[in-house]
Amino acid sequence: MPHRTSQTETPNGASVSLLRKLPTSRGRSDRADQLFHTLIIAMVWIVLATFAAVFLVLIEGAWPAVRRFGVSFIVGTGWDPVHLTFGALPFIVGTIVVALGAMILAGGIGLLTAICVTELLPRWLQAPVAYLIELLAFIPSVVYGLFGLLVLAPFLQATVQPWLLEHLGPRFEIFNGPPYGVGYLCAILILAIMLVPLIVALSREALLLVPISQKSGALALGATPWEIVWHITLPYARNGILGAMTLALGRALGETMAVAMTIGGGYRLPTTVMDQGYTLASVIANEFNEVSSDTYLSALIYCGLILFVLAVGVNSLAYFSLRRLAGARGFRA
């Protein structure tokens, strides 16, 4: 869970360490210092090398598919393990649709919840309620998948989807699909529940950073509590909230198990909200142990590479925008 650092940081984020500034100690301990230094640096190198290796292995594994399918993999739509034609566009679209759909739901509900907890609830109630919501974050992905598959999907299939099909289907094509239960709707709902605690926690941090002086000033000028929230608190915390949303989006893109268990499974581009489909992460999880050829395996790794680039891109965006707009106090997520 995020929390703030207490020391101020130089603009690039590296606090110039006190120990670094001093000359090395003399005598016997000089060697011990060197040893310690070398040991720690060696550990850092091992970690960096591992990260580099992960990236390189991804590229190496995907390379046969990249060479064979190239860009057509990213814009193609046929996924045929038998005839060895692979196009991952449905998965890319699926990843984005599920992530965005969950973000819209979770962002709205999460932000409103954060506002309620920090501005509306009395002090003594804030911490317990916040803790309860954070409890949602401790539920593993596979348990969300369990709940989605065994509880939500049958419920959707029995009540929500037939209702949508009957009342909105004739007019809106997006609701005109067969009620499977599992599918995009189920996955989006489950993923939204998973994102809510993250958004609430980060938004709360952003909202708590608003100085009381600003709010008192508005109060003195006659603003109502809601006006304070809408005109003072939210604009001040806007950057932190945007950073929180971007981080949640990054998380949503990579979410594997809960989506794998609730999205059904399909290789076509989605046309209705009740379609089944795949995201990049869930297709790898579901099909990896069933690959029948090296090309198939390489195609899945290619999906992993695209996912890697997507996730890293969005997370870097979140990280840099949060850092740039954090202000004097280090705000870390």
Binding site: H3, R4, T5, S6, T10, N12, A14, S15, S17, L18, L19, R20, S25, D33, I40, M43, I46, V47, L48, F51, V54, V57, L58, E60, G61, I109, G110, E119, L120, V129, I133, L136, P140, S141, V142, V143, F147, L149, V151, V196, L208, L209, W226, W230, L253, G254, T256, M257, A281, I284, F288, I301, G304, L307, F308, A311, V312, A318, R329, R332
Partner: protein, 271 residues
């Protein structure tokens, strides 16, 4: 006030989601939890009376291997970033790498270990699963360790240096013990987080109906078992899945609550 009304509704919705999930886990899972659940191996397909003992053992093995990899390396990077790093390109690059890899989907770590360990040794294994989980743990541990070490005030370091302690002693003998509670909390939370991962294990540990024959054999994990049983068609399997899920959530929540209670005073509030 419509505005605040909607916030209240949202909060109730969030809490409602939490309570419905937890209550489903409890209602459907509590029936499966009995002595046999903890000590038996899985029964024949669809039959009652089985347990998840191999999964519990497997979870313990995987988490141990993951911690052996993730905690020292992660703490080492955390110590570097907090105590030894100057304003150099190397330090900035390291921090960037850590922040980047925190956001990488866990299945990527599984793919990596599959290629470097599972494929060459021709076997899914506990070691591979533990390694994948450990790799996921490193950035989390590094970030937590750095944050916690940063919280230790400079005055402590200055005092130790003034007394003539060498720099390594300042870090290991003064700063680290001062941050001990936070580091322990961070490790336990990282472990709990990693214990709930499933995707990388599908590609590395695979799963097992029986106790693992050794560290280089496939091993089952509690999340893999939940996955398998949830997707199956048998009611007994669903019940056991709920039970295992209840166990997992309960364990993690209890652990975090205990930690919260025992390590008060390590947060900085802004008023």
């Amino acid at each position: 006030m419509l505005g605040f009304g909607s916030t209240l509704a949202a909060t109730l919705l969030s809490l409602g989601a939490l309570f419905s999930i937890l209550s489903y886990l409890v209602i459907h899972g509590i029936g499966a939890i009995n002595w046999a659940f903890f000590v038996n191996e899985p029964a024949a397909v669809g039959e009652a009376g089985g347990g998840i003992a191999p999964s519990l053992l497997g979870t313990a093995i995987l988490v141990t291997i993951a911690s052996l990899v993730g905690v020292p390396l992660g703490a080492g990077v955390g110590i570097y970033l907090s105590e030894l790093a100057g304003d150099t390109r190397f330090a900035r690059f390291t921090r960037l790498a850590i922040n980047t890899f925190i956001g990488v989907p866990s299945i990527v770590a599984g793919i990596f270990v599959y290629f470097i360990l599972v494929k060459p040794t021709n076997t899914f294994s506990a070691v591979a699963g533990g390694l994948a989980l450990g790799i996921i743990m490193i950035p989390i541990m590094a970030r937590t360790a750095e944050d916690v070490l940063r919280l230790v005030p400079d005055t402590l370091r200055e005092a130790a240096l003034a007394l003539g302690a060498p720099r390594w002693r300042v870090t290991m003998g003064v700063v680290l013990p001062a941050a001990r509670a936070g580091v322990i909390t961070g490790s336990v939370l990282a472990v709990a987080r990693v214990a709930g991962e499933t995707a990388p294990l599908i590609l590395t540990a695979l799963g097992n109906e029986y106790y693992p024959s050794g560290l280089f054999y496939p091993v089952d994990e509690i999340t893999l078992r939940i996955l398998k049983y949830a997707r199956g068609p048998y009611d007994v399997w669903h019940e056991q899945a709920y039970g295992a899920a209840l166990l997992l959530v309960f364990g993690v929540a209890l652990g975090s609550l205990l930690l919260r209670v025992t390590t008060r005073g390590y947060d900085v509030r802004n008023d």
